[in-house]
Amino acid sequence: MIRYALTRGALLIAGLLVASVVIFLSLRVFPGDVAQLIAGSEATPTQVQAIREALGLERPLFAQYGDWIGGLFRGDLGVSMLTGASVGEELLQKAQVTVPLGLMAMIIAFVIAVPLGILAALLRGRAGGTAMNVGAQAVAAVPVIWAGMMLVVVFAVWLGWLPAQGFPRAGWAEPWQAVRALLLPALTIGIVEGAMLMRFVRSATLQAASQDFVRTAAAKGLTRTAALVRHGIPAVGLSIITVLGLQVAGIVVGSVVIEQLFTLPGIGRMLVTDVGTRDLVKVQSELLVLTGFVLVIGFLVDLVHHVIDPRQREAA
């Protein structure tokens, strides 16, 4: 087990290093720079050059990369080229919106997917089951942005129950307002991700139904459904954890779109703005933190899997 964790951990670190190089270099091929944006379109080339030098954009790429990575090892994510503010601090601040949003979306997805997925599996072959399956497929195919707009139209504009955009100025000091602000965006991501997850739960349940131990249980006198519920579904739990882990990436991507739509001051919206302003140091640190987050979740899922699933343990 320890050997497995160490090997897997080394892979994680290697993955992060590769990601850092890819992120760093890929941002450099973007046309346009922050110096020109600061100077504006009435500035002379000399003025732009002066700003560029002041920001260190003229230094060799290797030195810029070294500075950045060196800072990361000291736990310093760098400062924004535009505002001089600490990237780490701003990330923490924006995480207060994005992390609760992701958690809420995940919970909603889970609450939708698990019961409906199992029900759809139990109803397989009947009209209800087919309808649920087709419905889930349709919802999963809906673009997040469109789902968000529909929810806004219904719940914010028509019914006026929930705010259409924004986050309370006081943040979590007004917990109820903060939750209200996140409800529509979380529902948007949660419903779409939940539909995907539901289809997975359904097929995993069906697969479990065909497993030997379920058949054995049925042979011992349980009904098929009871056998599935008592013995099959607990086995499904494990694979659901894996898929939920994978969905973290989907939720991060979804938050970029949804924060834009709902004007939420979160990490996704910060990222979009910073790419637009070519605030390179900020963007690369933000991307690396997000990449790291997704990689770490994958790492944890693998570890949990390894601990729980006896077959994997034997294989390793």
Binding site: G40, E42, A50, T83, A85, V157, A164, F262, T273
Partner: protein, 506 residues
Amino acid sequence: MLRRSTGLTLLAGIAAAAVILTACTSAPAPSPTATSTGTPDPDATITVGLVLEPTNLDIRRTSGAALEQILIDNIYEGLVTRTQDNEIEPRLASDYTVSPDGLTYSFTLNEGVTFHSGTALTSADVVASFQAVKDDPTLQGNADFAQVATIAAPDAATVEITLTEPNQNFLFALTGPGGLVFQTGDTTDLKTAENGTGPFTLSRWNKGSTITFARNDTYWGEAAGVAEVVFEYIPDFTAGVNAAIDGSLDVLTAVDPNLAPQLEQTGEFVLTTGRTTDKGTLAFNNKKAPLDDIRVREALRLAIDHEALVAAVGAGQTMFGPIPELDPGYEDLSDVISYDVEKAKSLLKEAGHEDLDLTLTIPSFYGTTVPKVLVSDFAKVGVNLEVKSVEFATWLEDVYTNRDYDLSFVLHVEPRDFGNFANPDYYFGYDNPKVQSLYAQALAETDADASAALLAEAARLVSEDHAADWLYNGATITALVPGVAGFPQDSINSRINLQDVTVAAK
């Protein structure tokens, strides 16, 4: 300076004024409900929805309309400022005089002006601020100070600036970021904090969301009419309208004309249409073939149905030359160009370009309305237009810096920026010595009317050379809830002076 929003109009204070104004424009007239003009509430907070958030607050070093729009006059002040009509008026100066030769400007400072730090403002602060702009090329406005010879403070209440040659635009330049006055030796980090002299102080900036101002109770002039202003930044037009409808905003600026009817239908808003100096400019790369051929440029202008384009944009008016109505030197130049598809075709044939492929490079935030109209208009004369939508930073690099483009569209919002057509190094690549000479004369002319006449003459030449096409002069639509009074109406995409704004007690 360019602005990233489809410009619309402005706003108005009082419902009655709004009705009259909107009735005079092409914008759909609202049917405002009776507006309560109740007693202003001095403790009120007003929430204003805006599209474009500043990247940082350092107005000395960062360009951008988003920054000027909220900071100038509210937080920072200059010796002079400009009205909604772009007229110059005194601000920190109680009075000013210009010598007959146009070389010496004398300003007398108002009494009792203090910075937000509590320190009193003296002429030494003005001298230090201006000297820095003159000496430091990274400060905004540095180029405007090129002809400044000396900046002096004969006494604590007087500032005297002498120029090496007369410059008709100098006083106007002082209404911009270069003319703002900062405390000498101040160590405030201007990127995130401030120390101005204005009627408001900065209380909080929640990046990506809101900026909050509080009334400065020790303001030297008349105190602001509201206790607090919250600028809510909503980059998506639809989200902005939704926010207004769900009641989270008192004012929404830059309403998309196509979404304005949604706000009107609620019956809860007064919509106003204001004038701007936004010039929807279709730039031609004058130095690059085939656009270096005047026949091709004229043909492209003839192919555009400007009336239809303005209708598609939804607000604003046609313009046929480089100077908008709010700037000196404006003249109706509609006689220069018409909509004539046949003439356009024959000009292209004559120039040997019956089939022409051109690329339009456009920053992505302008949407698709303008490119769509151009593609369809140009197709009628055999010009195939490929639209390349890019991020603003990319536009700055490819088009503005490297001049690597055929056609480009941006909204040039800066007032009095005609000089770009007298600068052969600007990205238009337009080089006409006669225009350059007329512009130089206009700047050197000390009589304002004579100067404007020279500008008008130069502007006509630019239009006759078809140096660019001006697709429309933008208007800006603002939605206000009844009870908000005194909100500025014109030019609000470059200045939102909030001092006189009030909100009726509910």
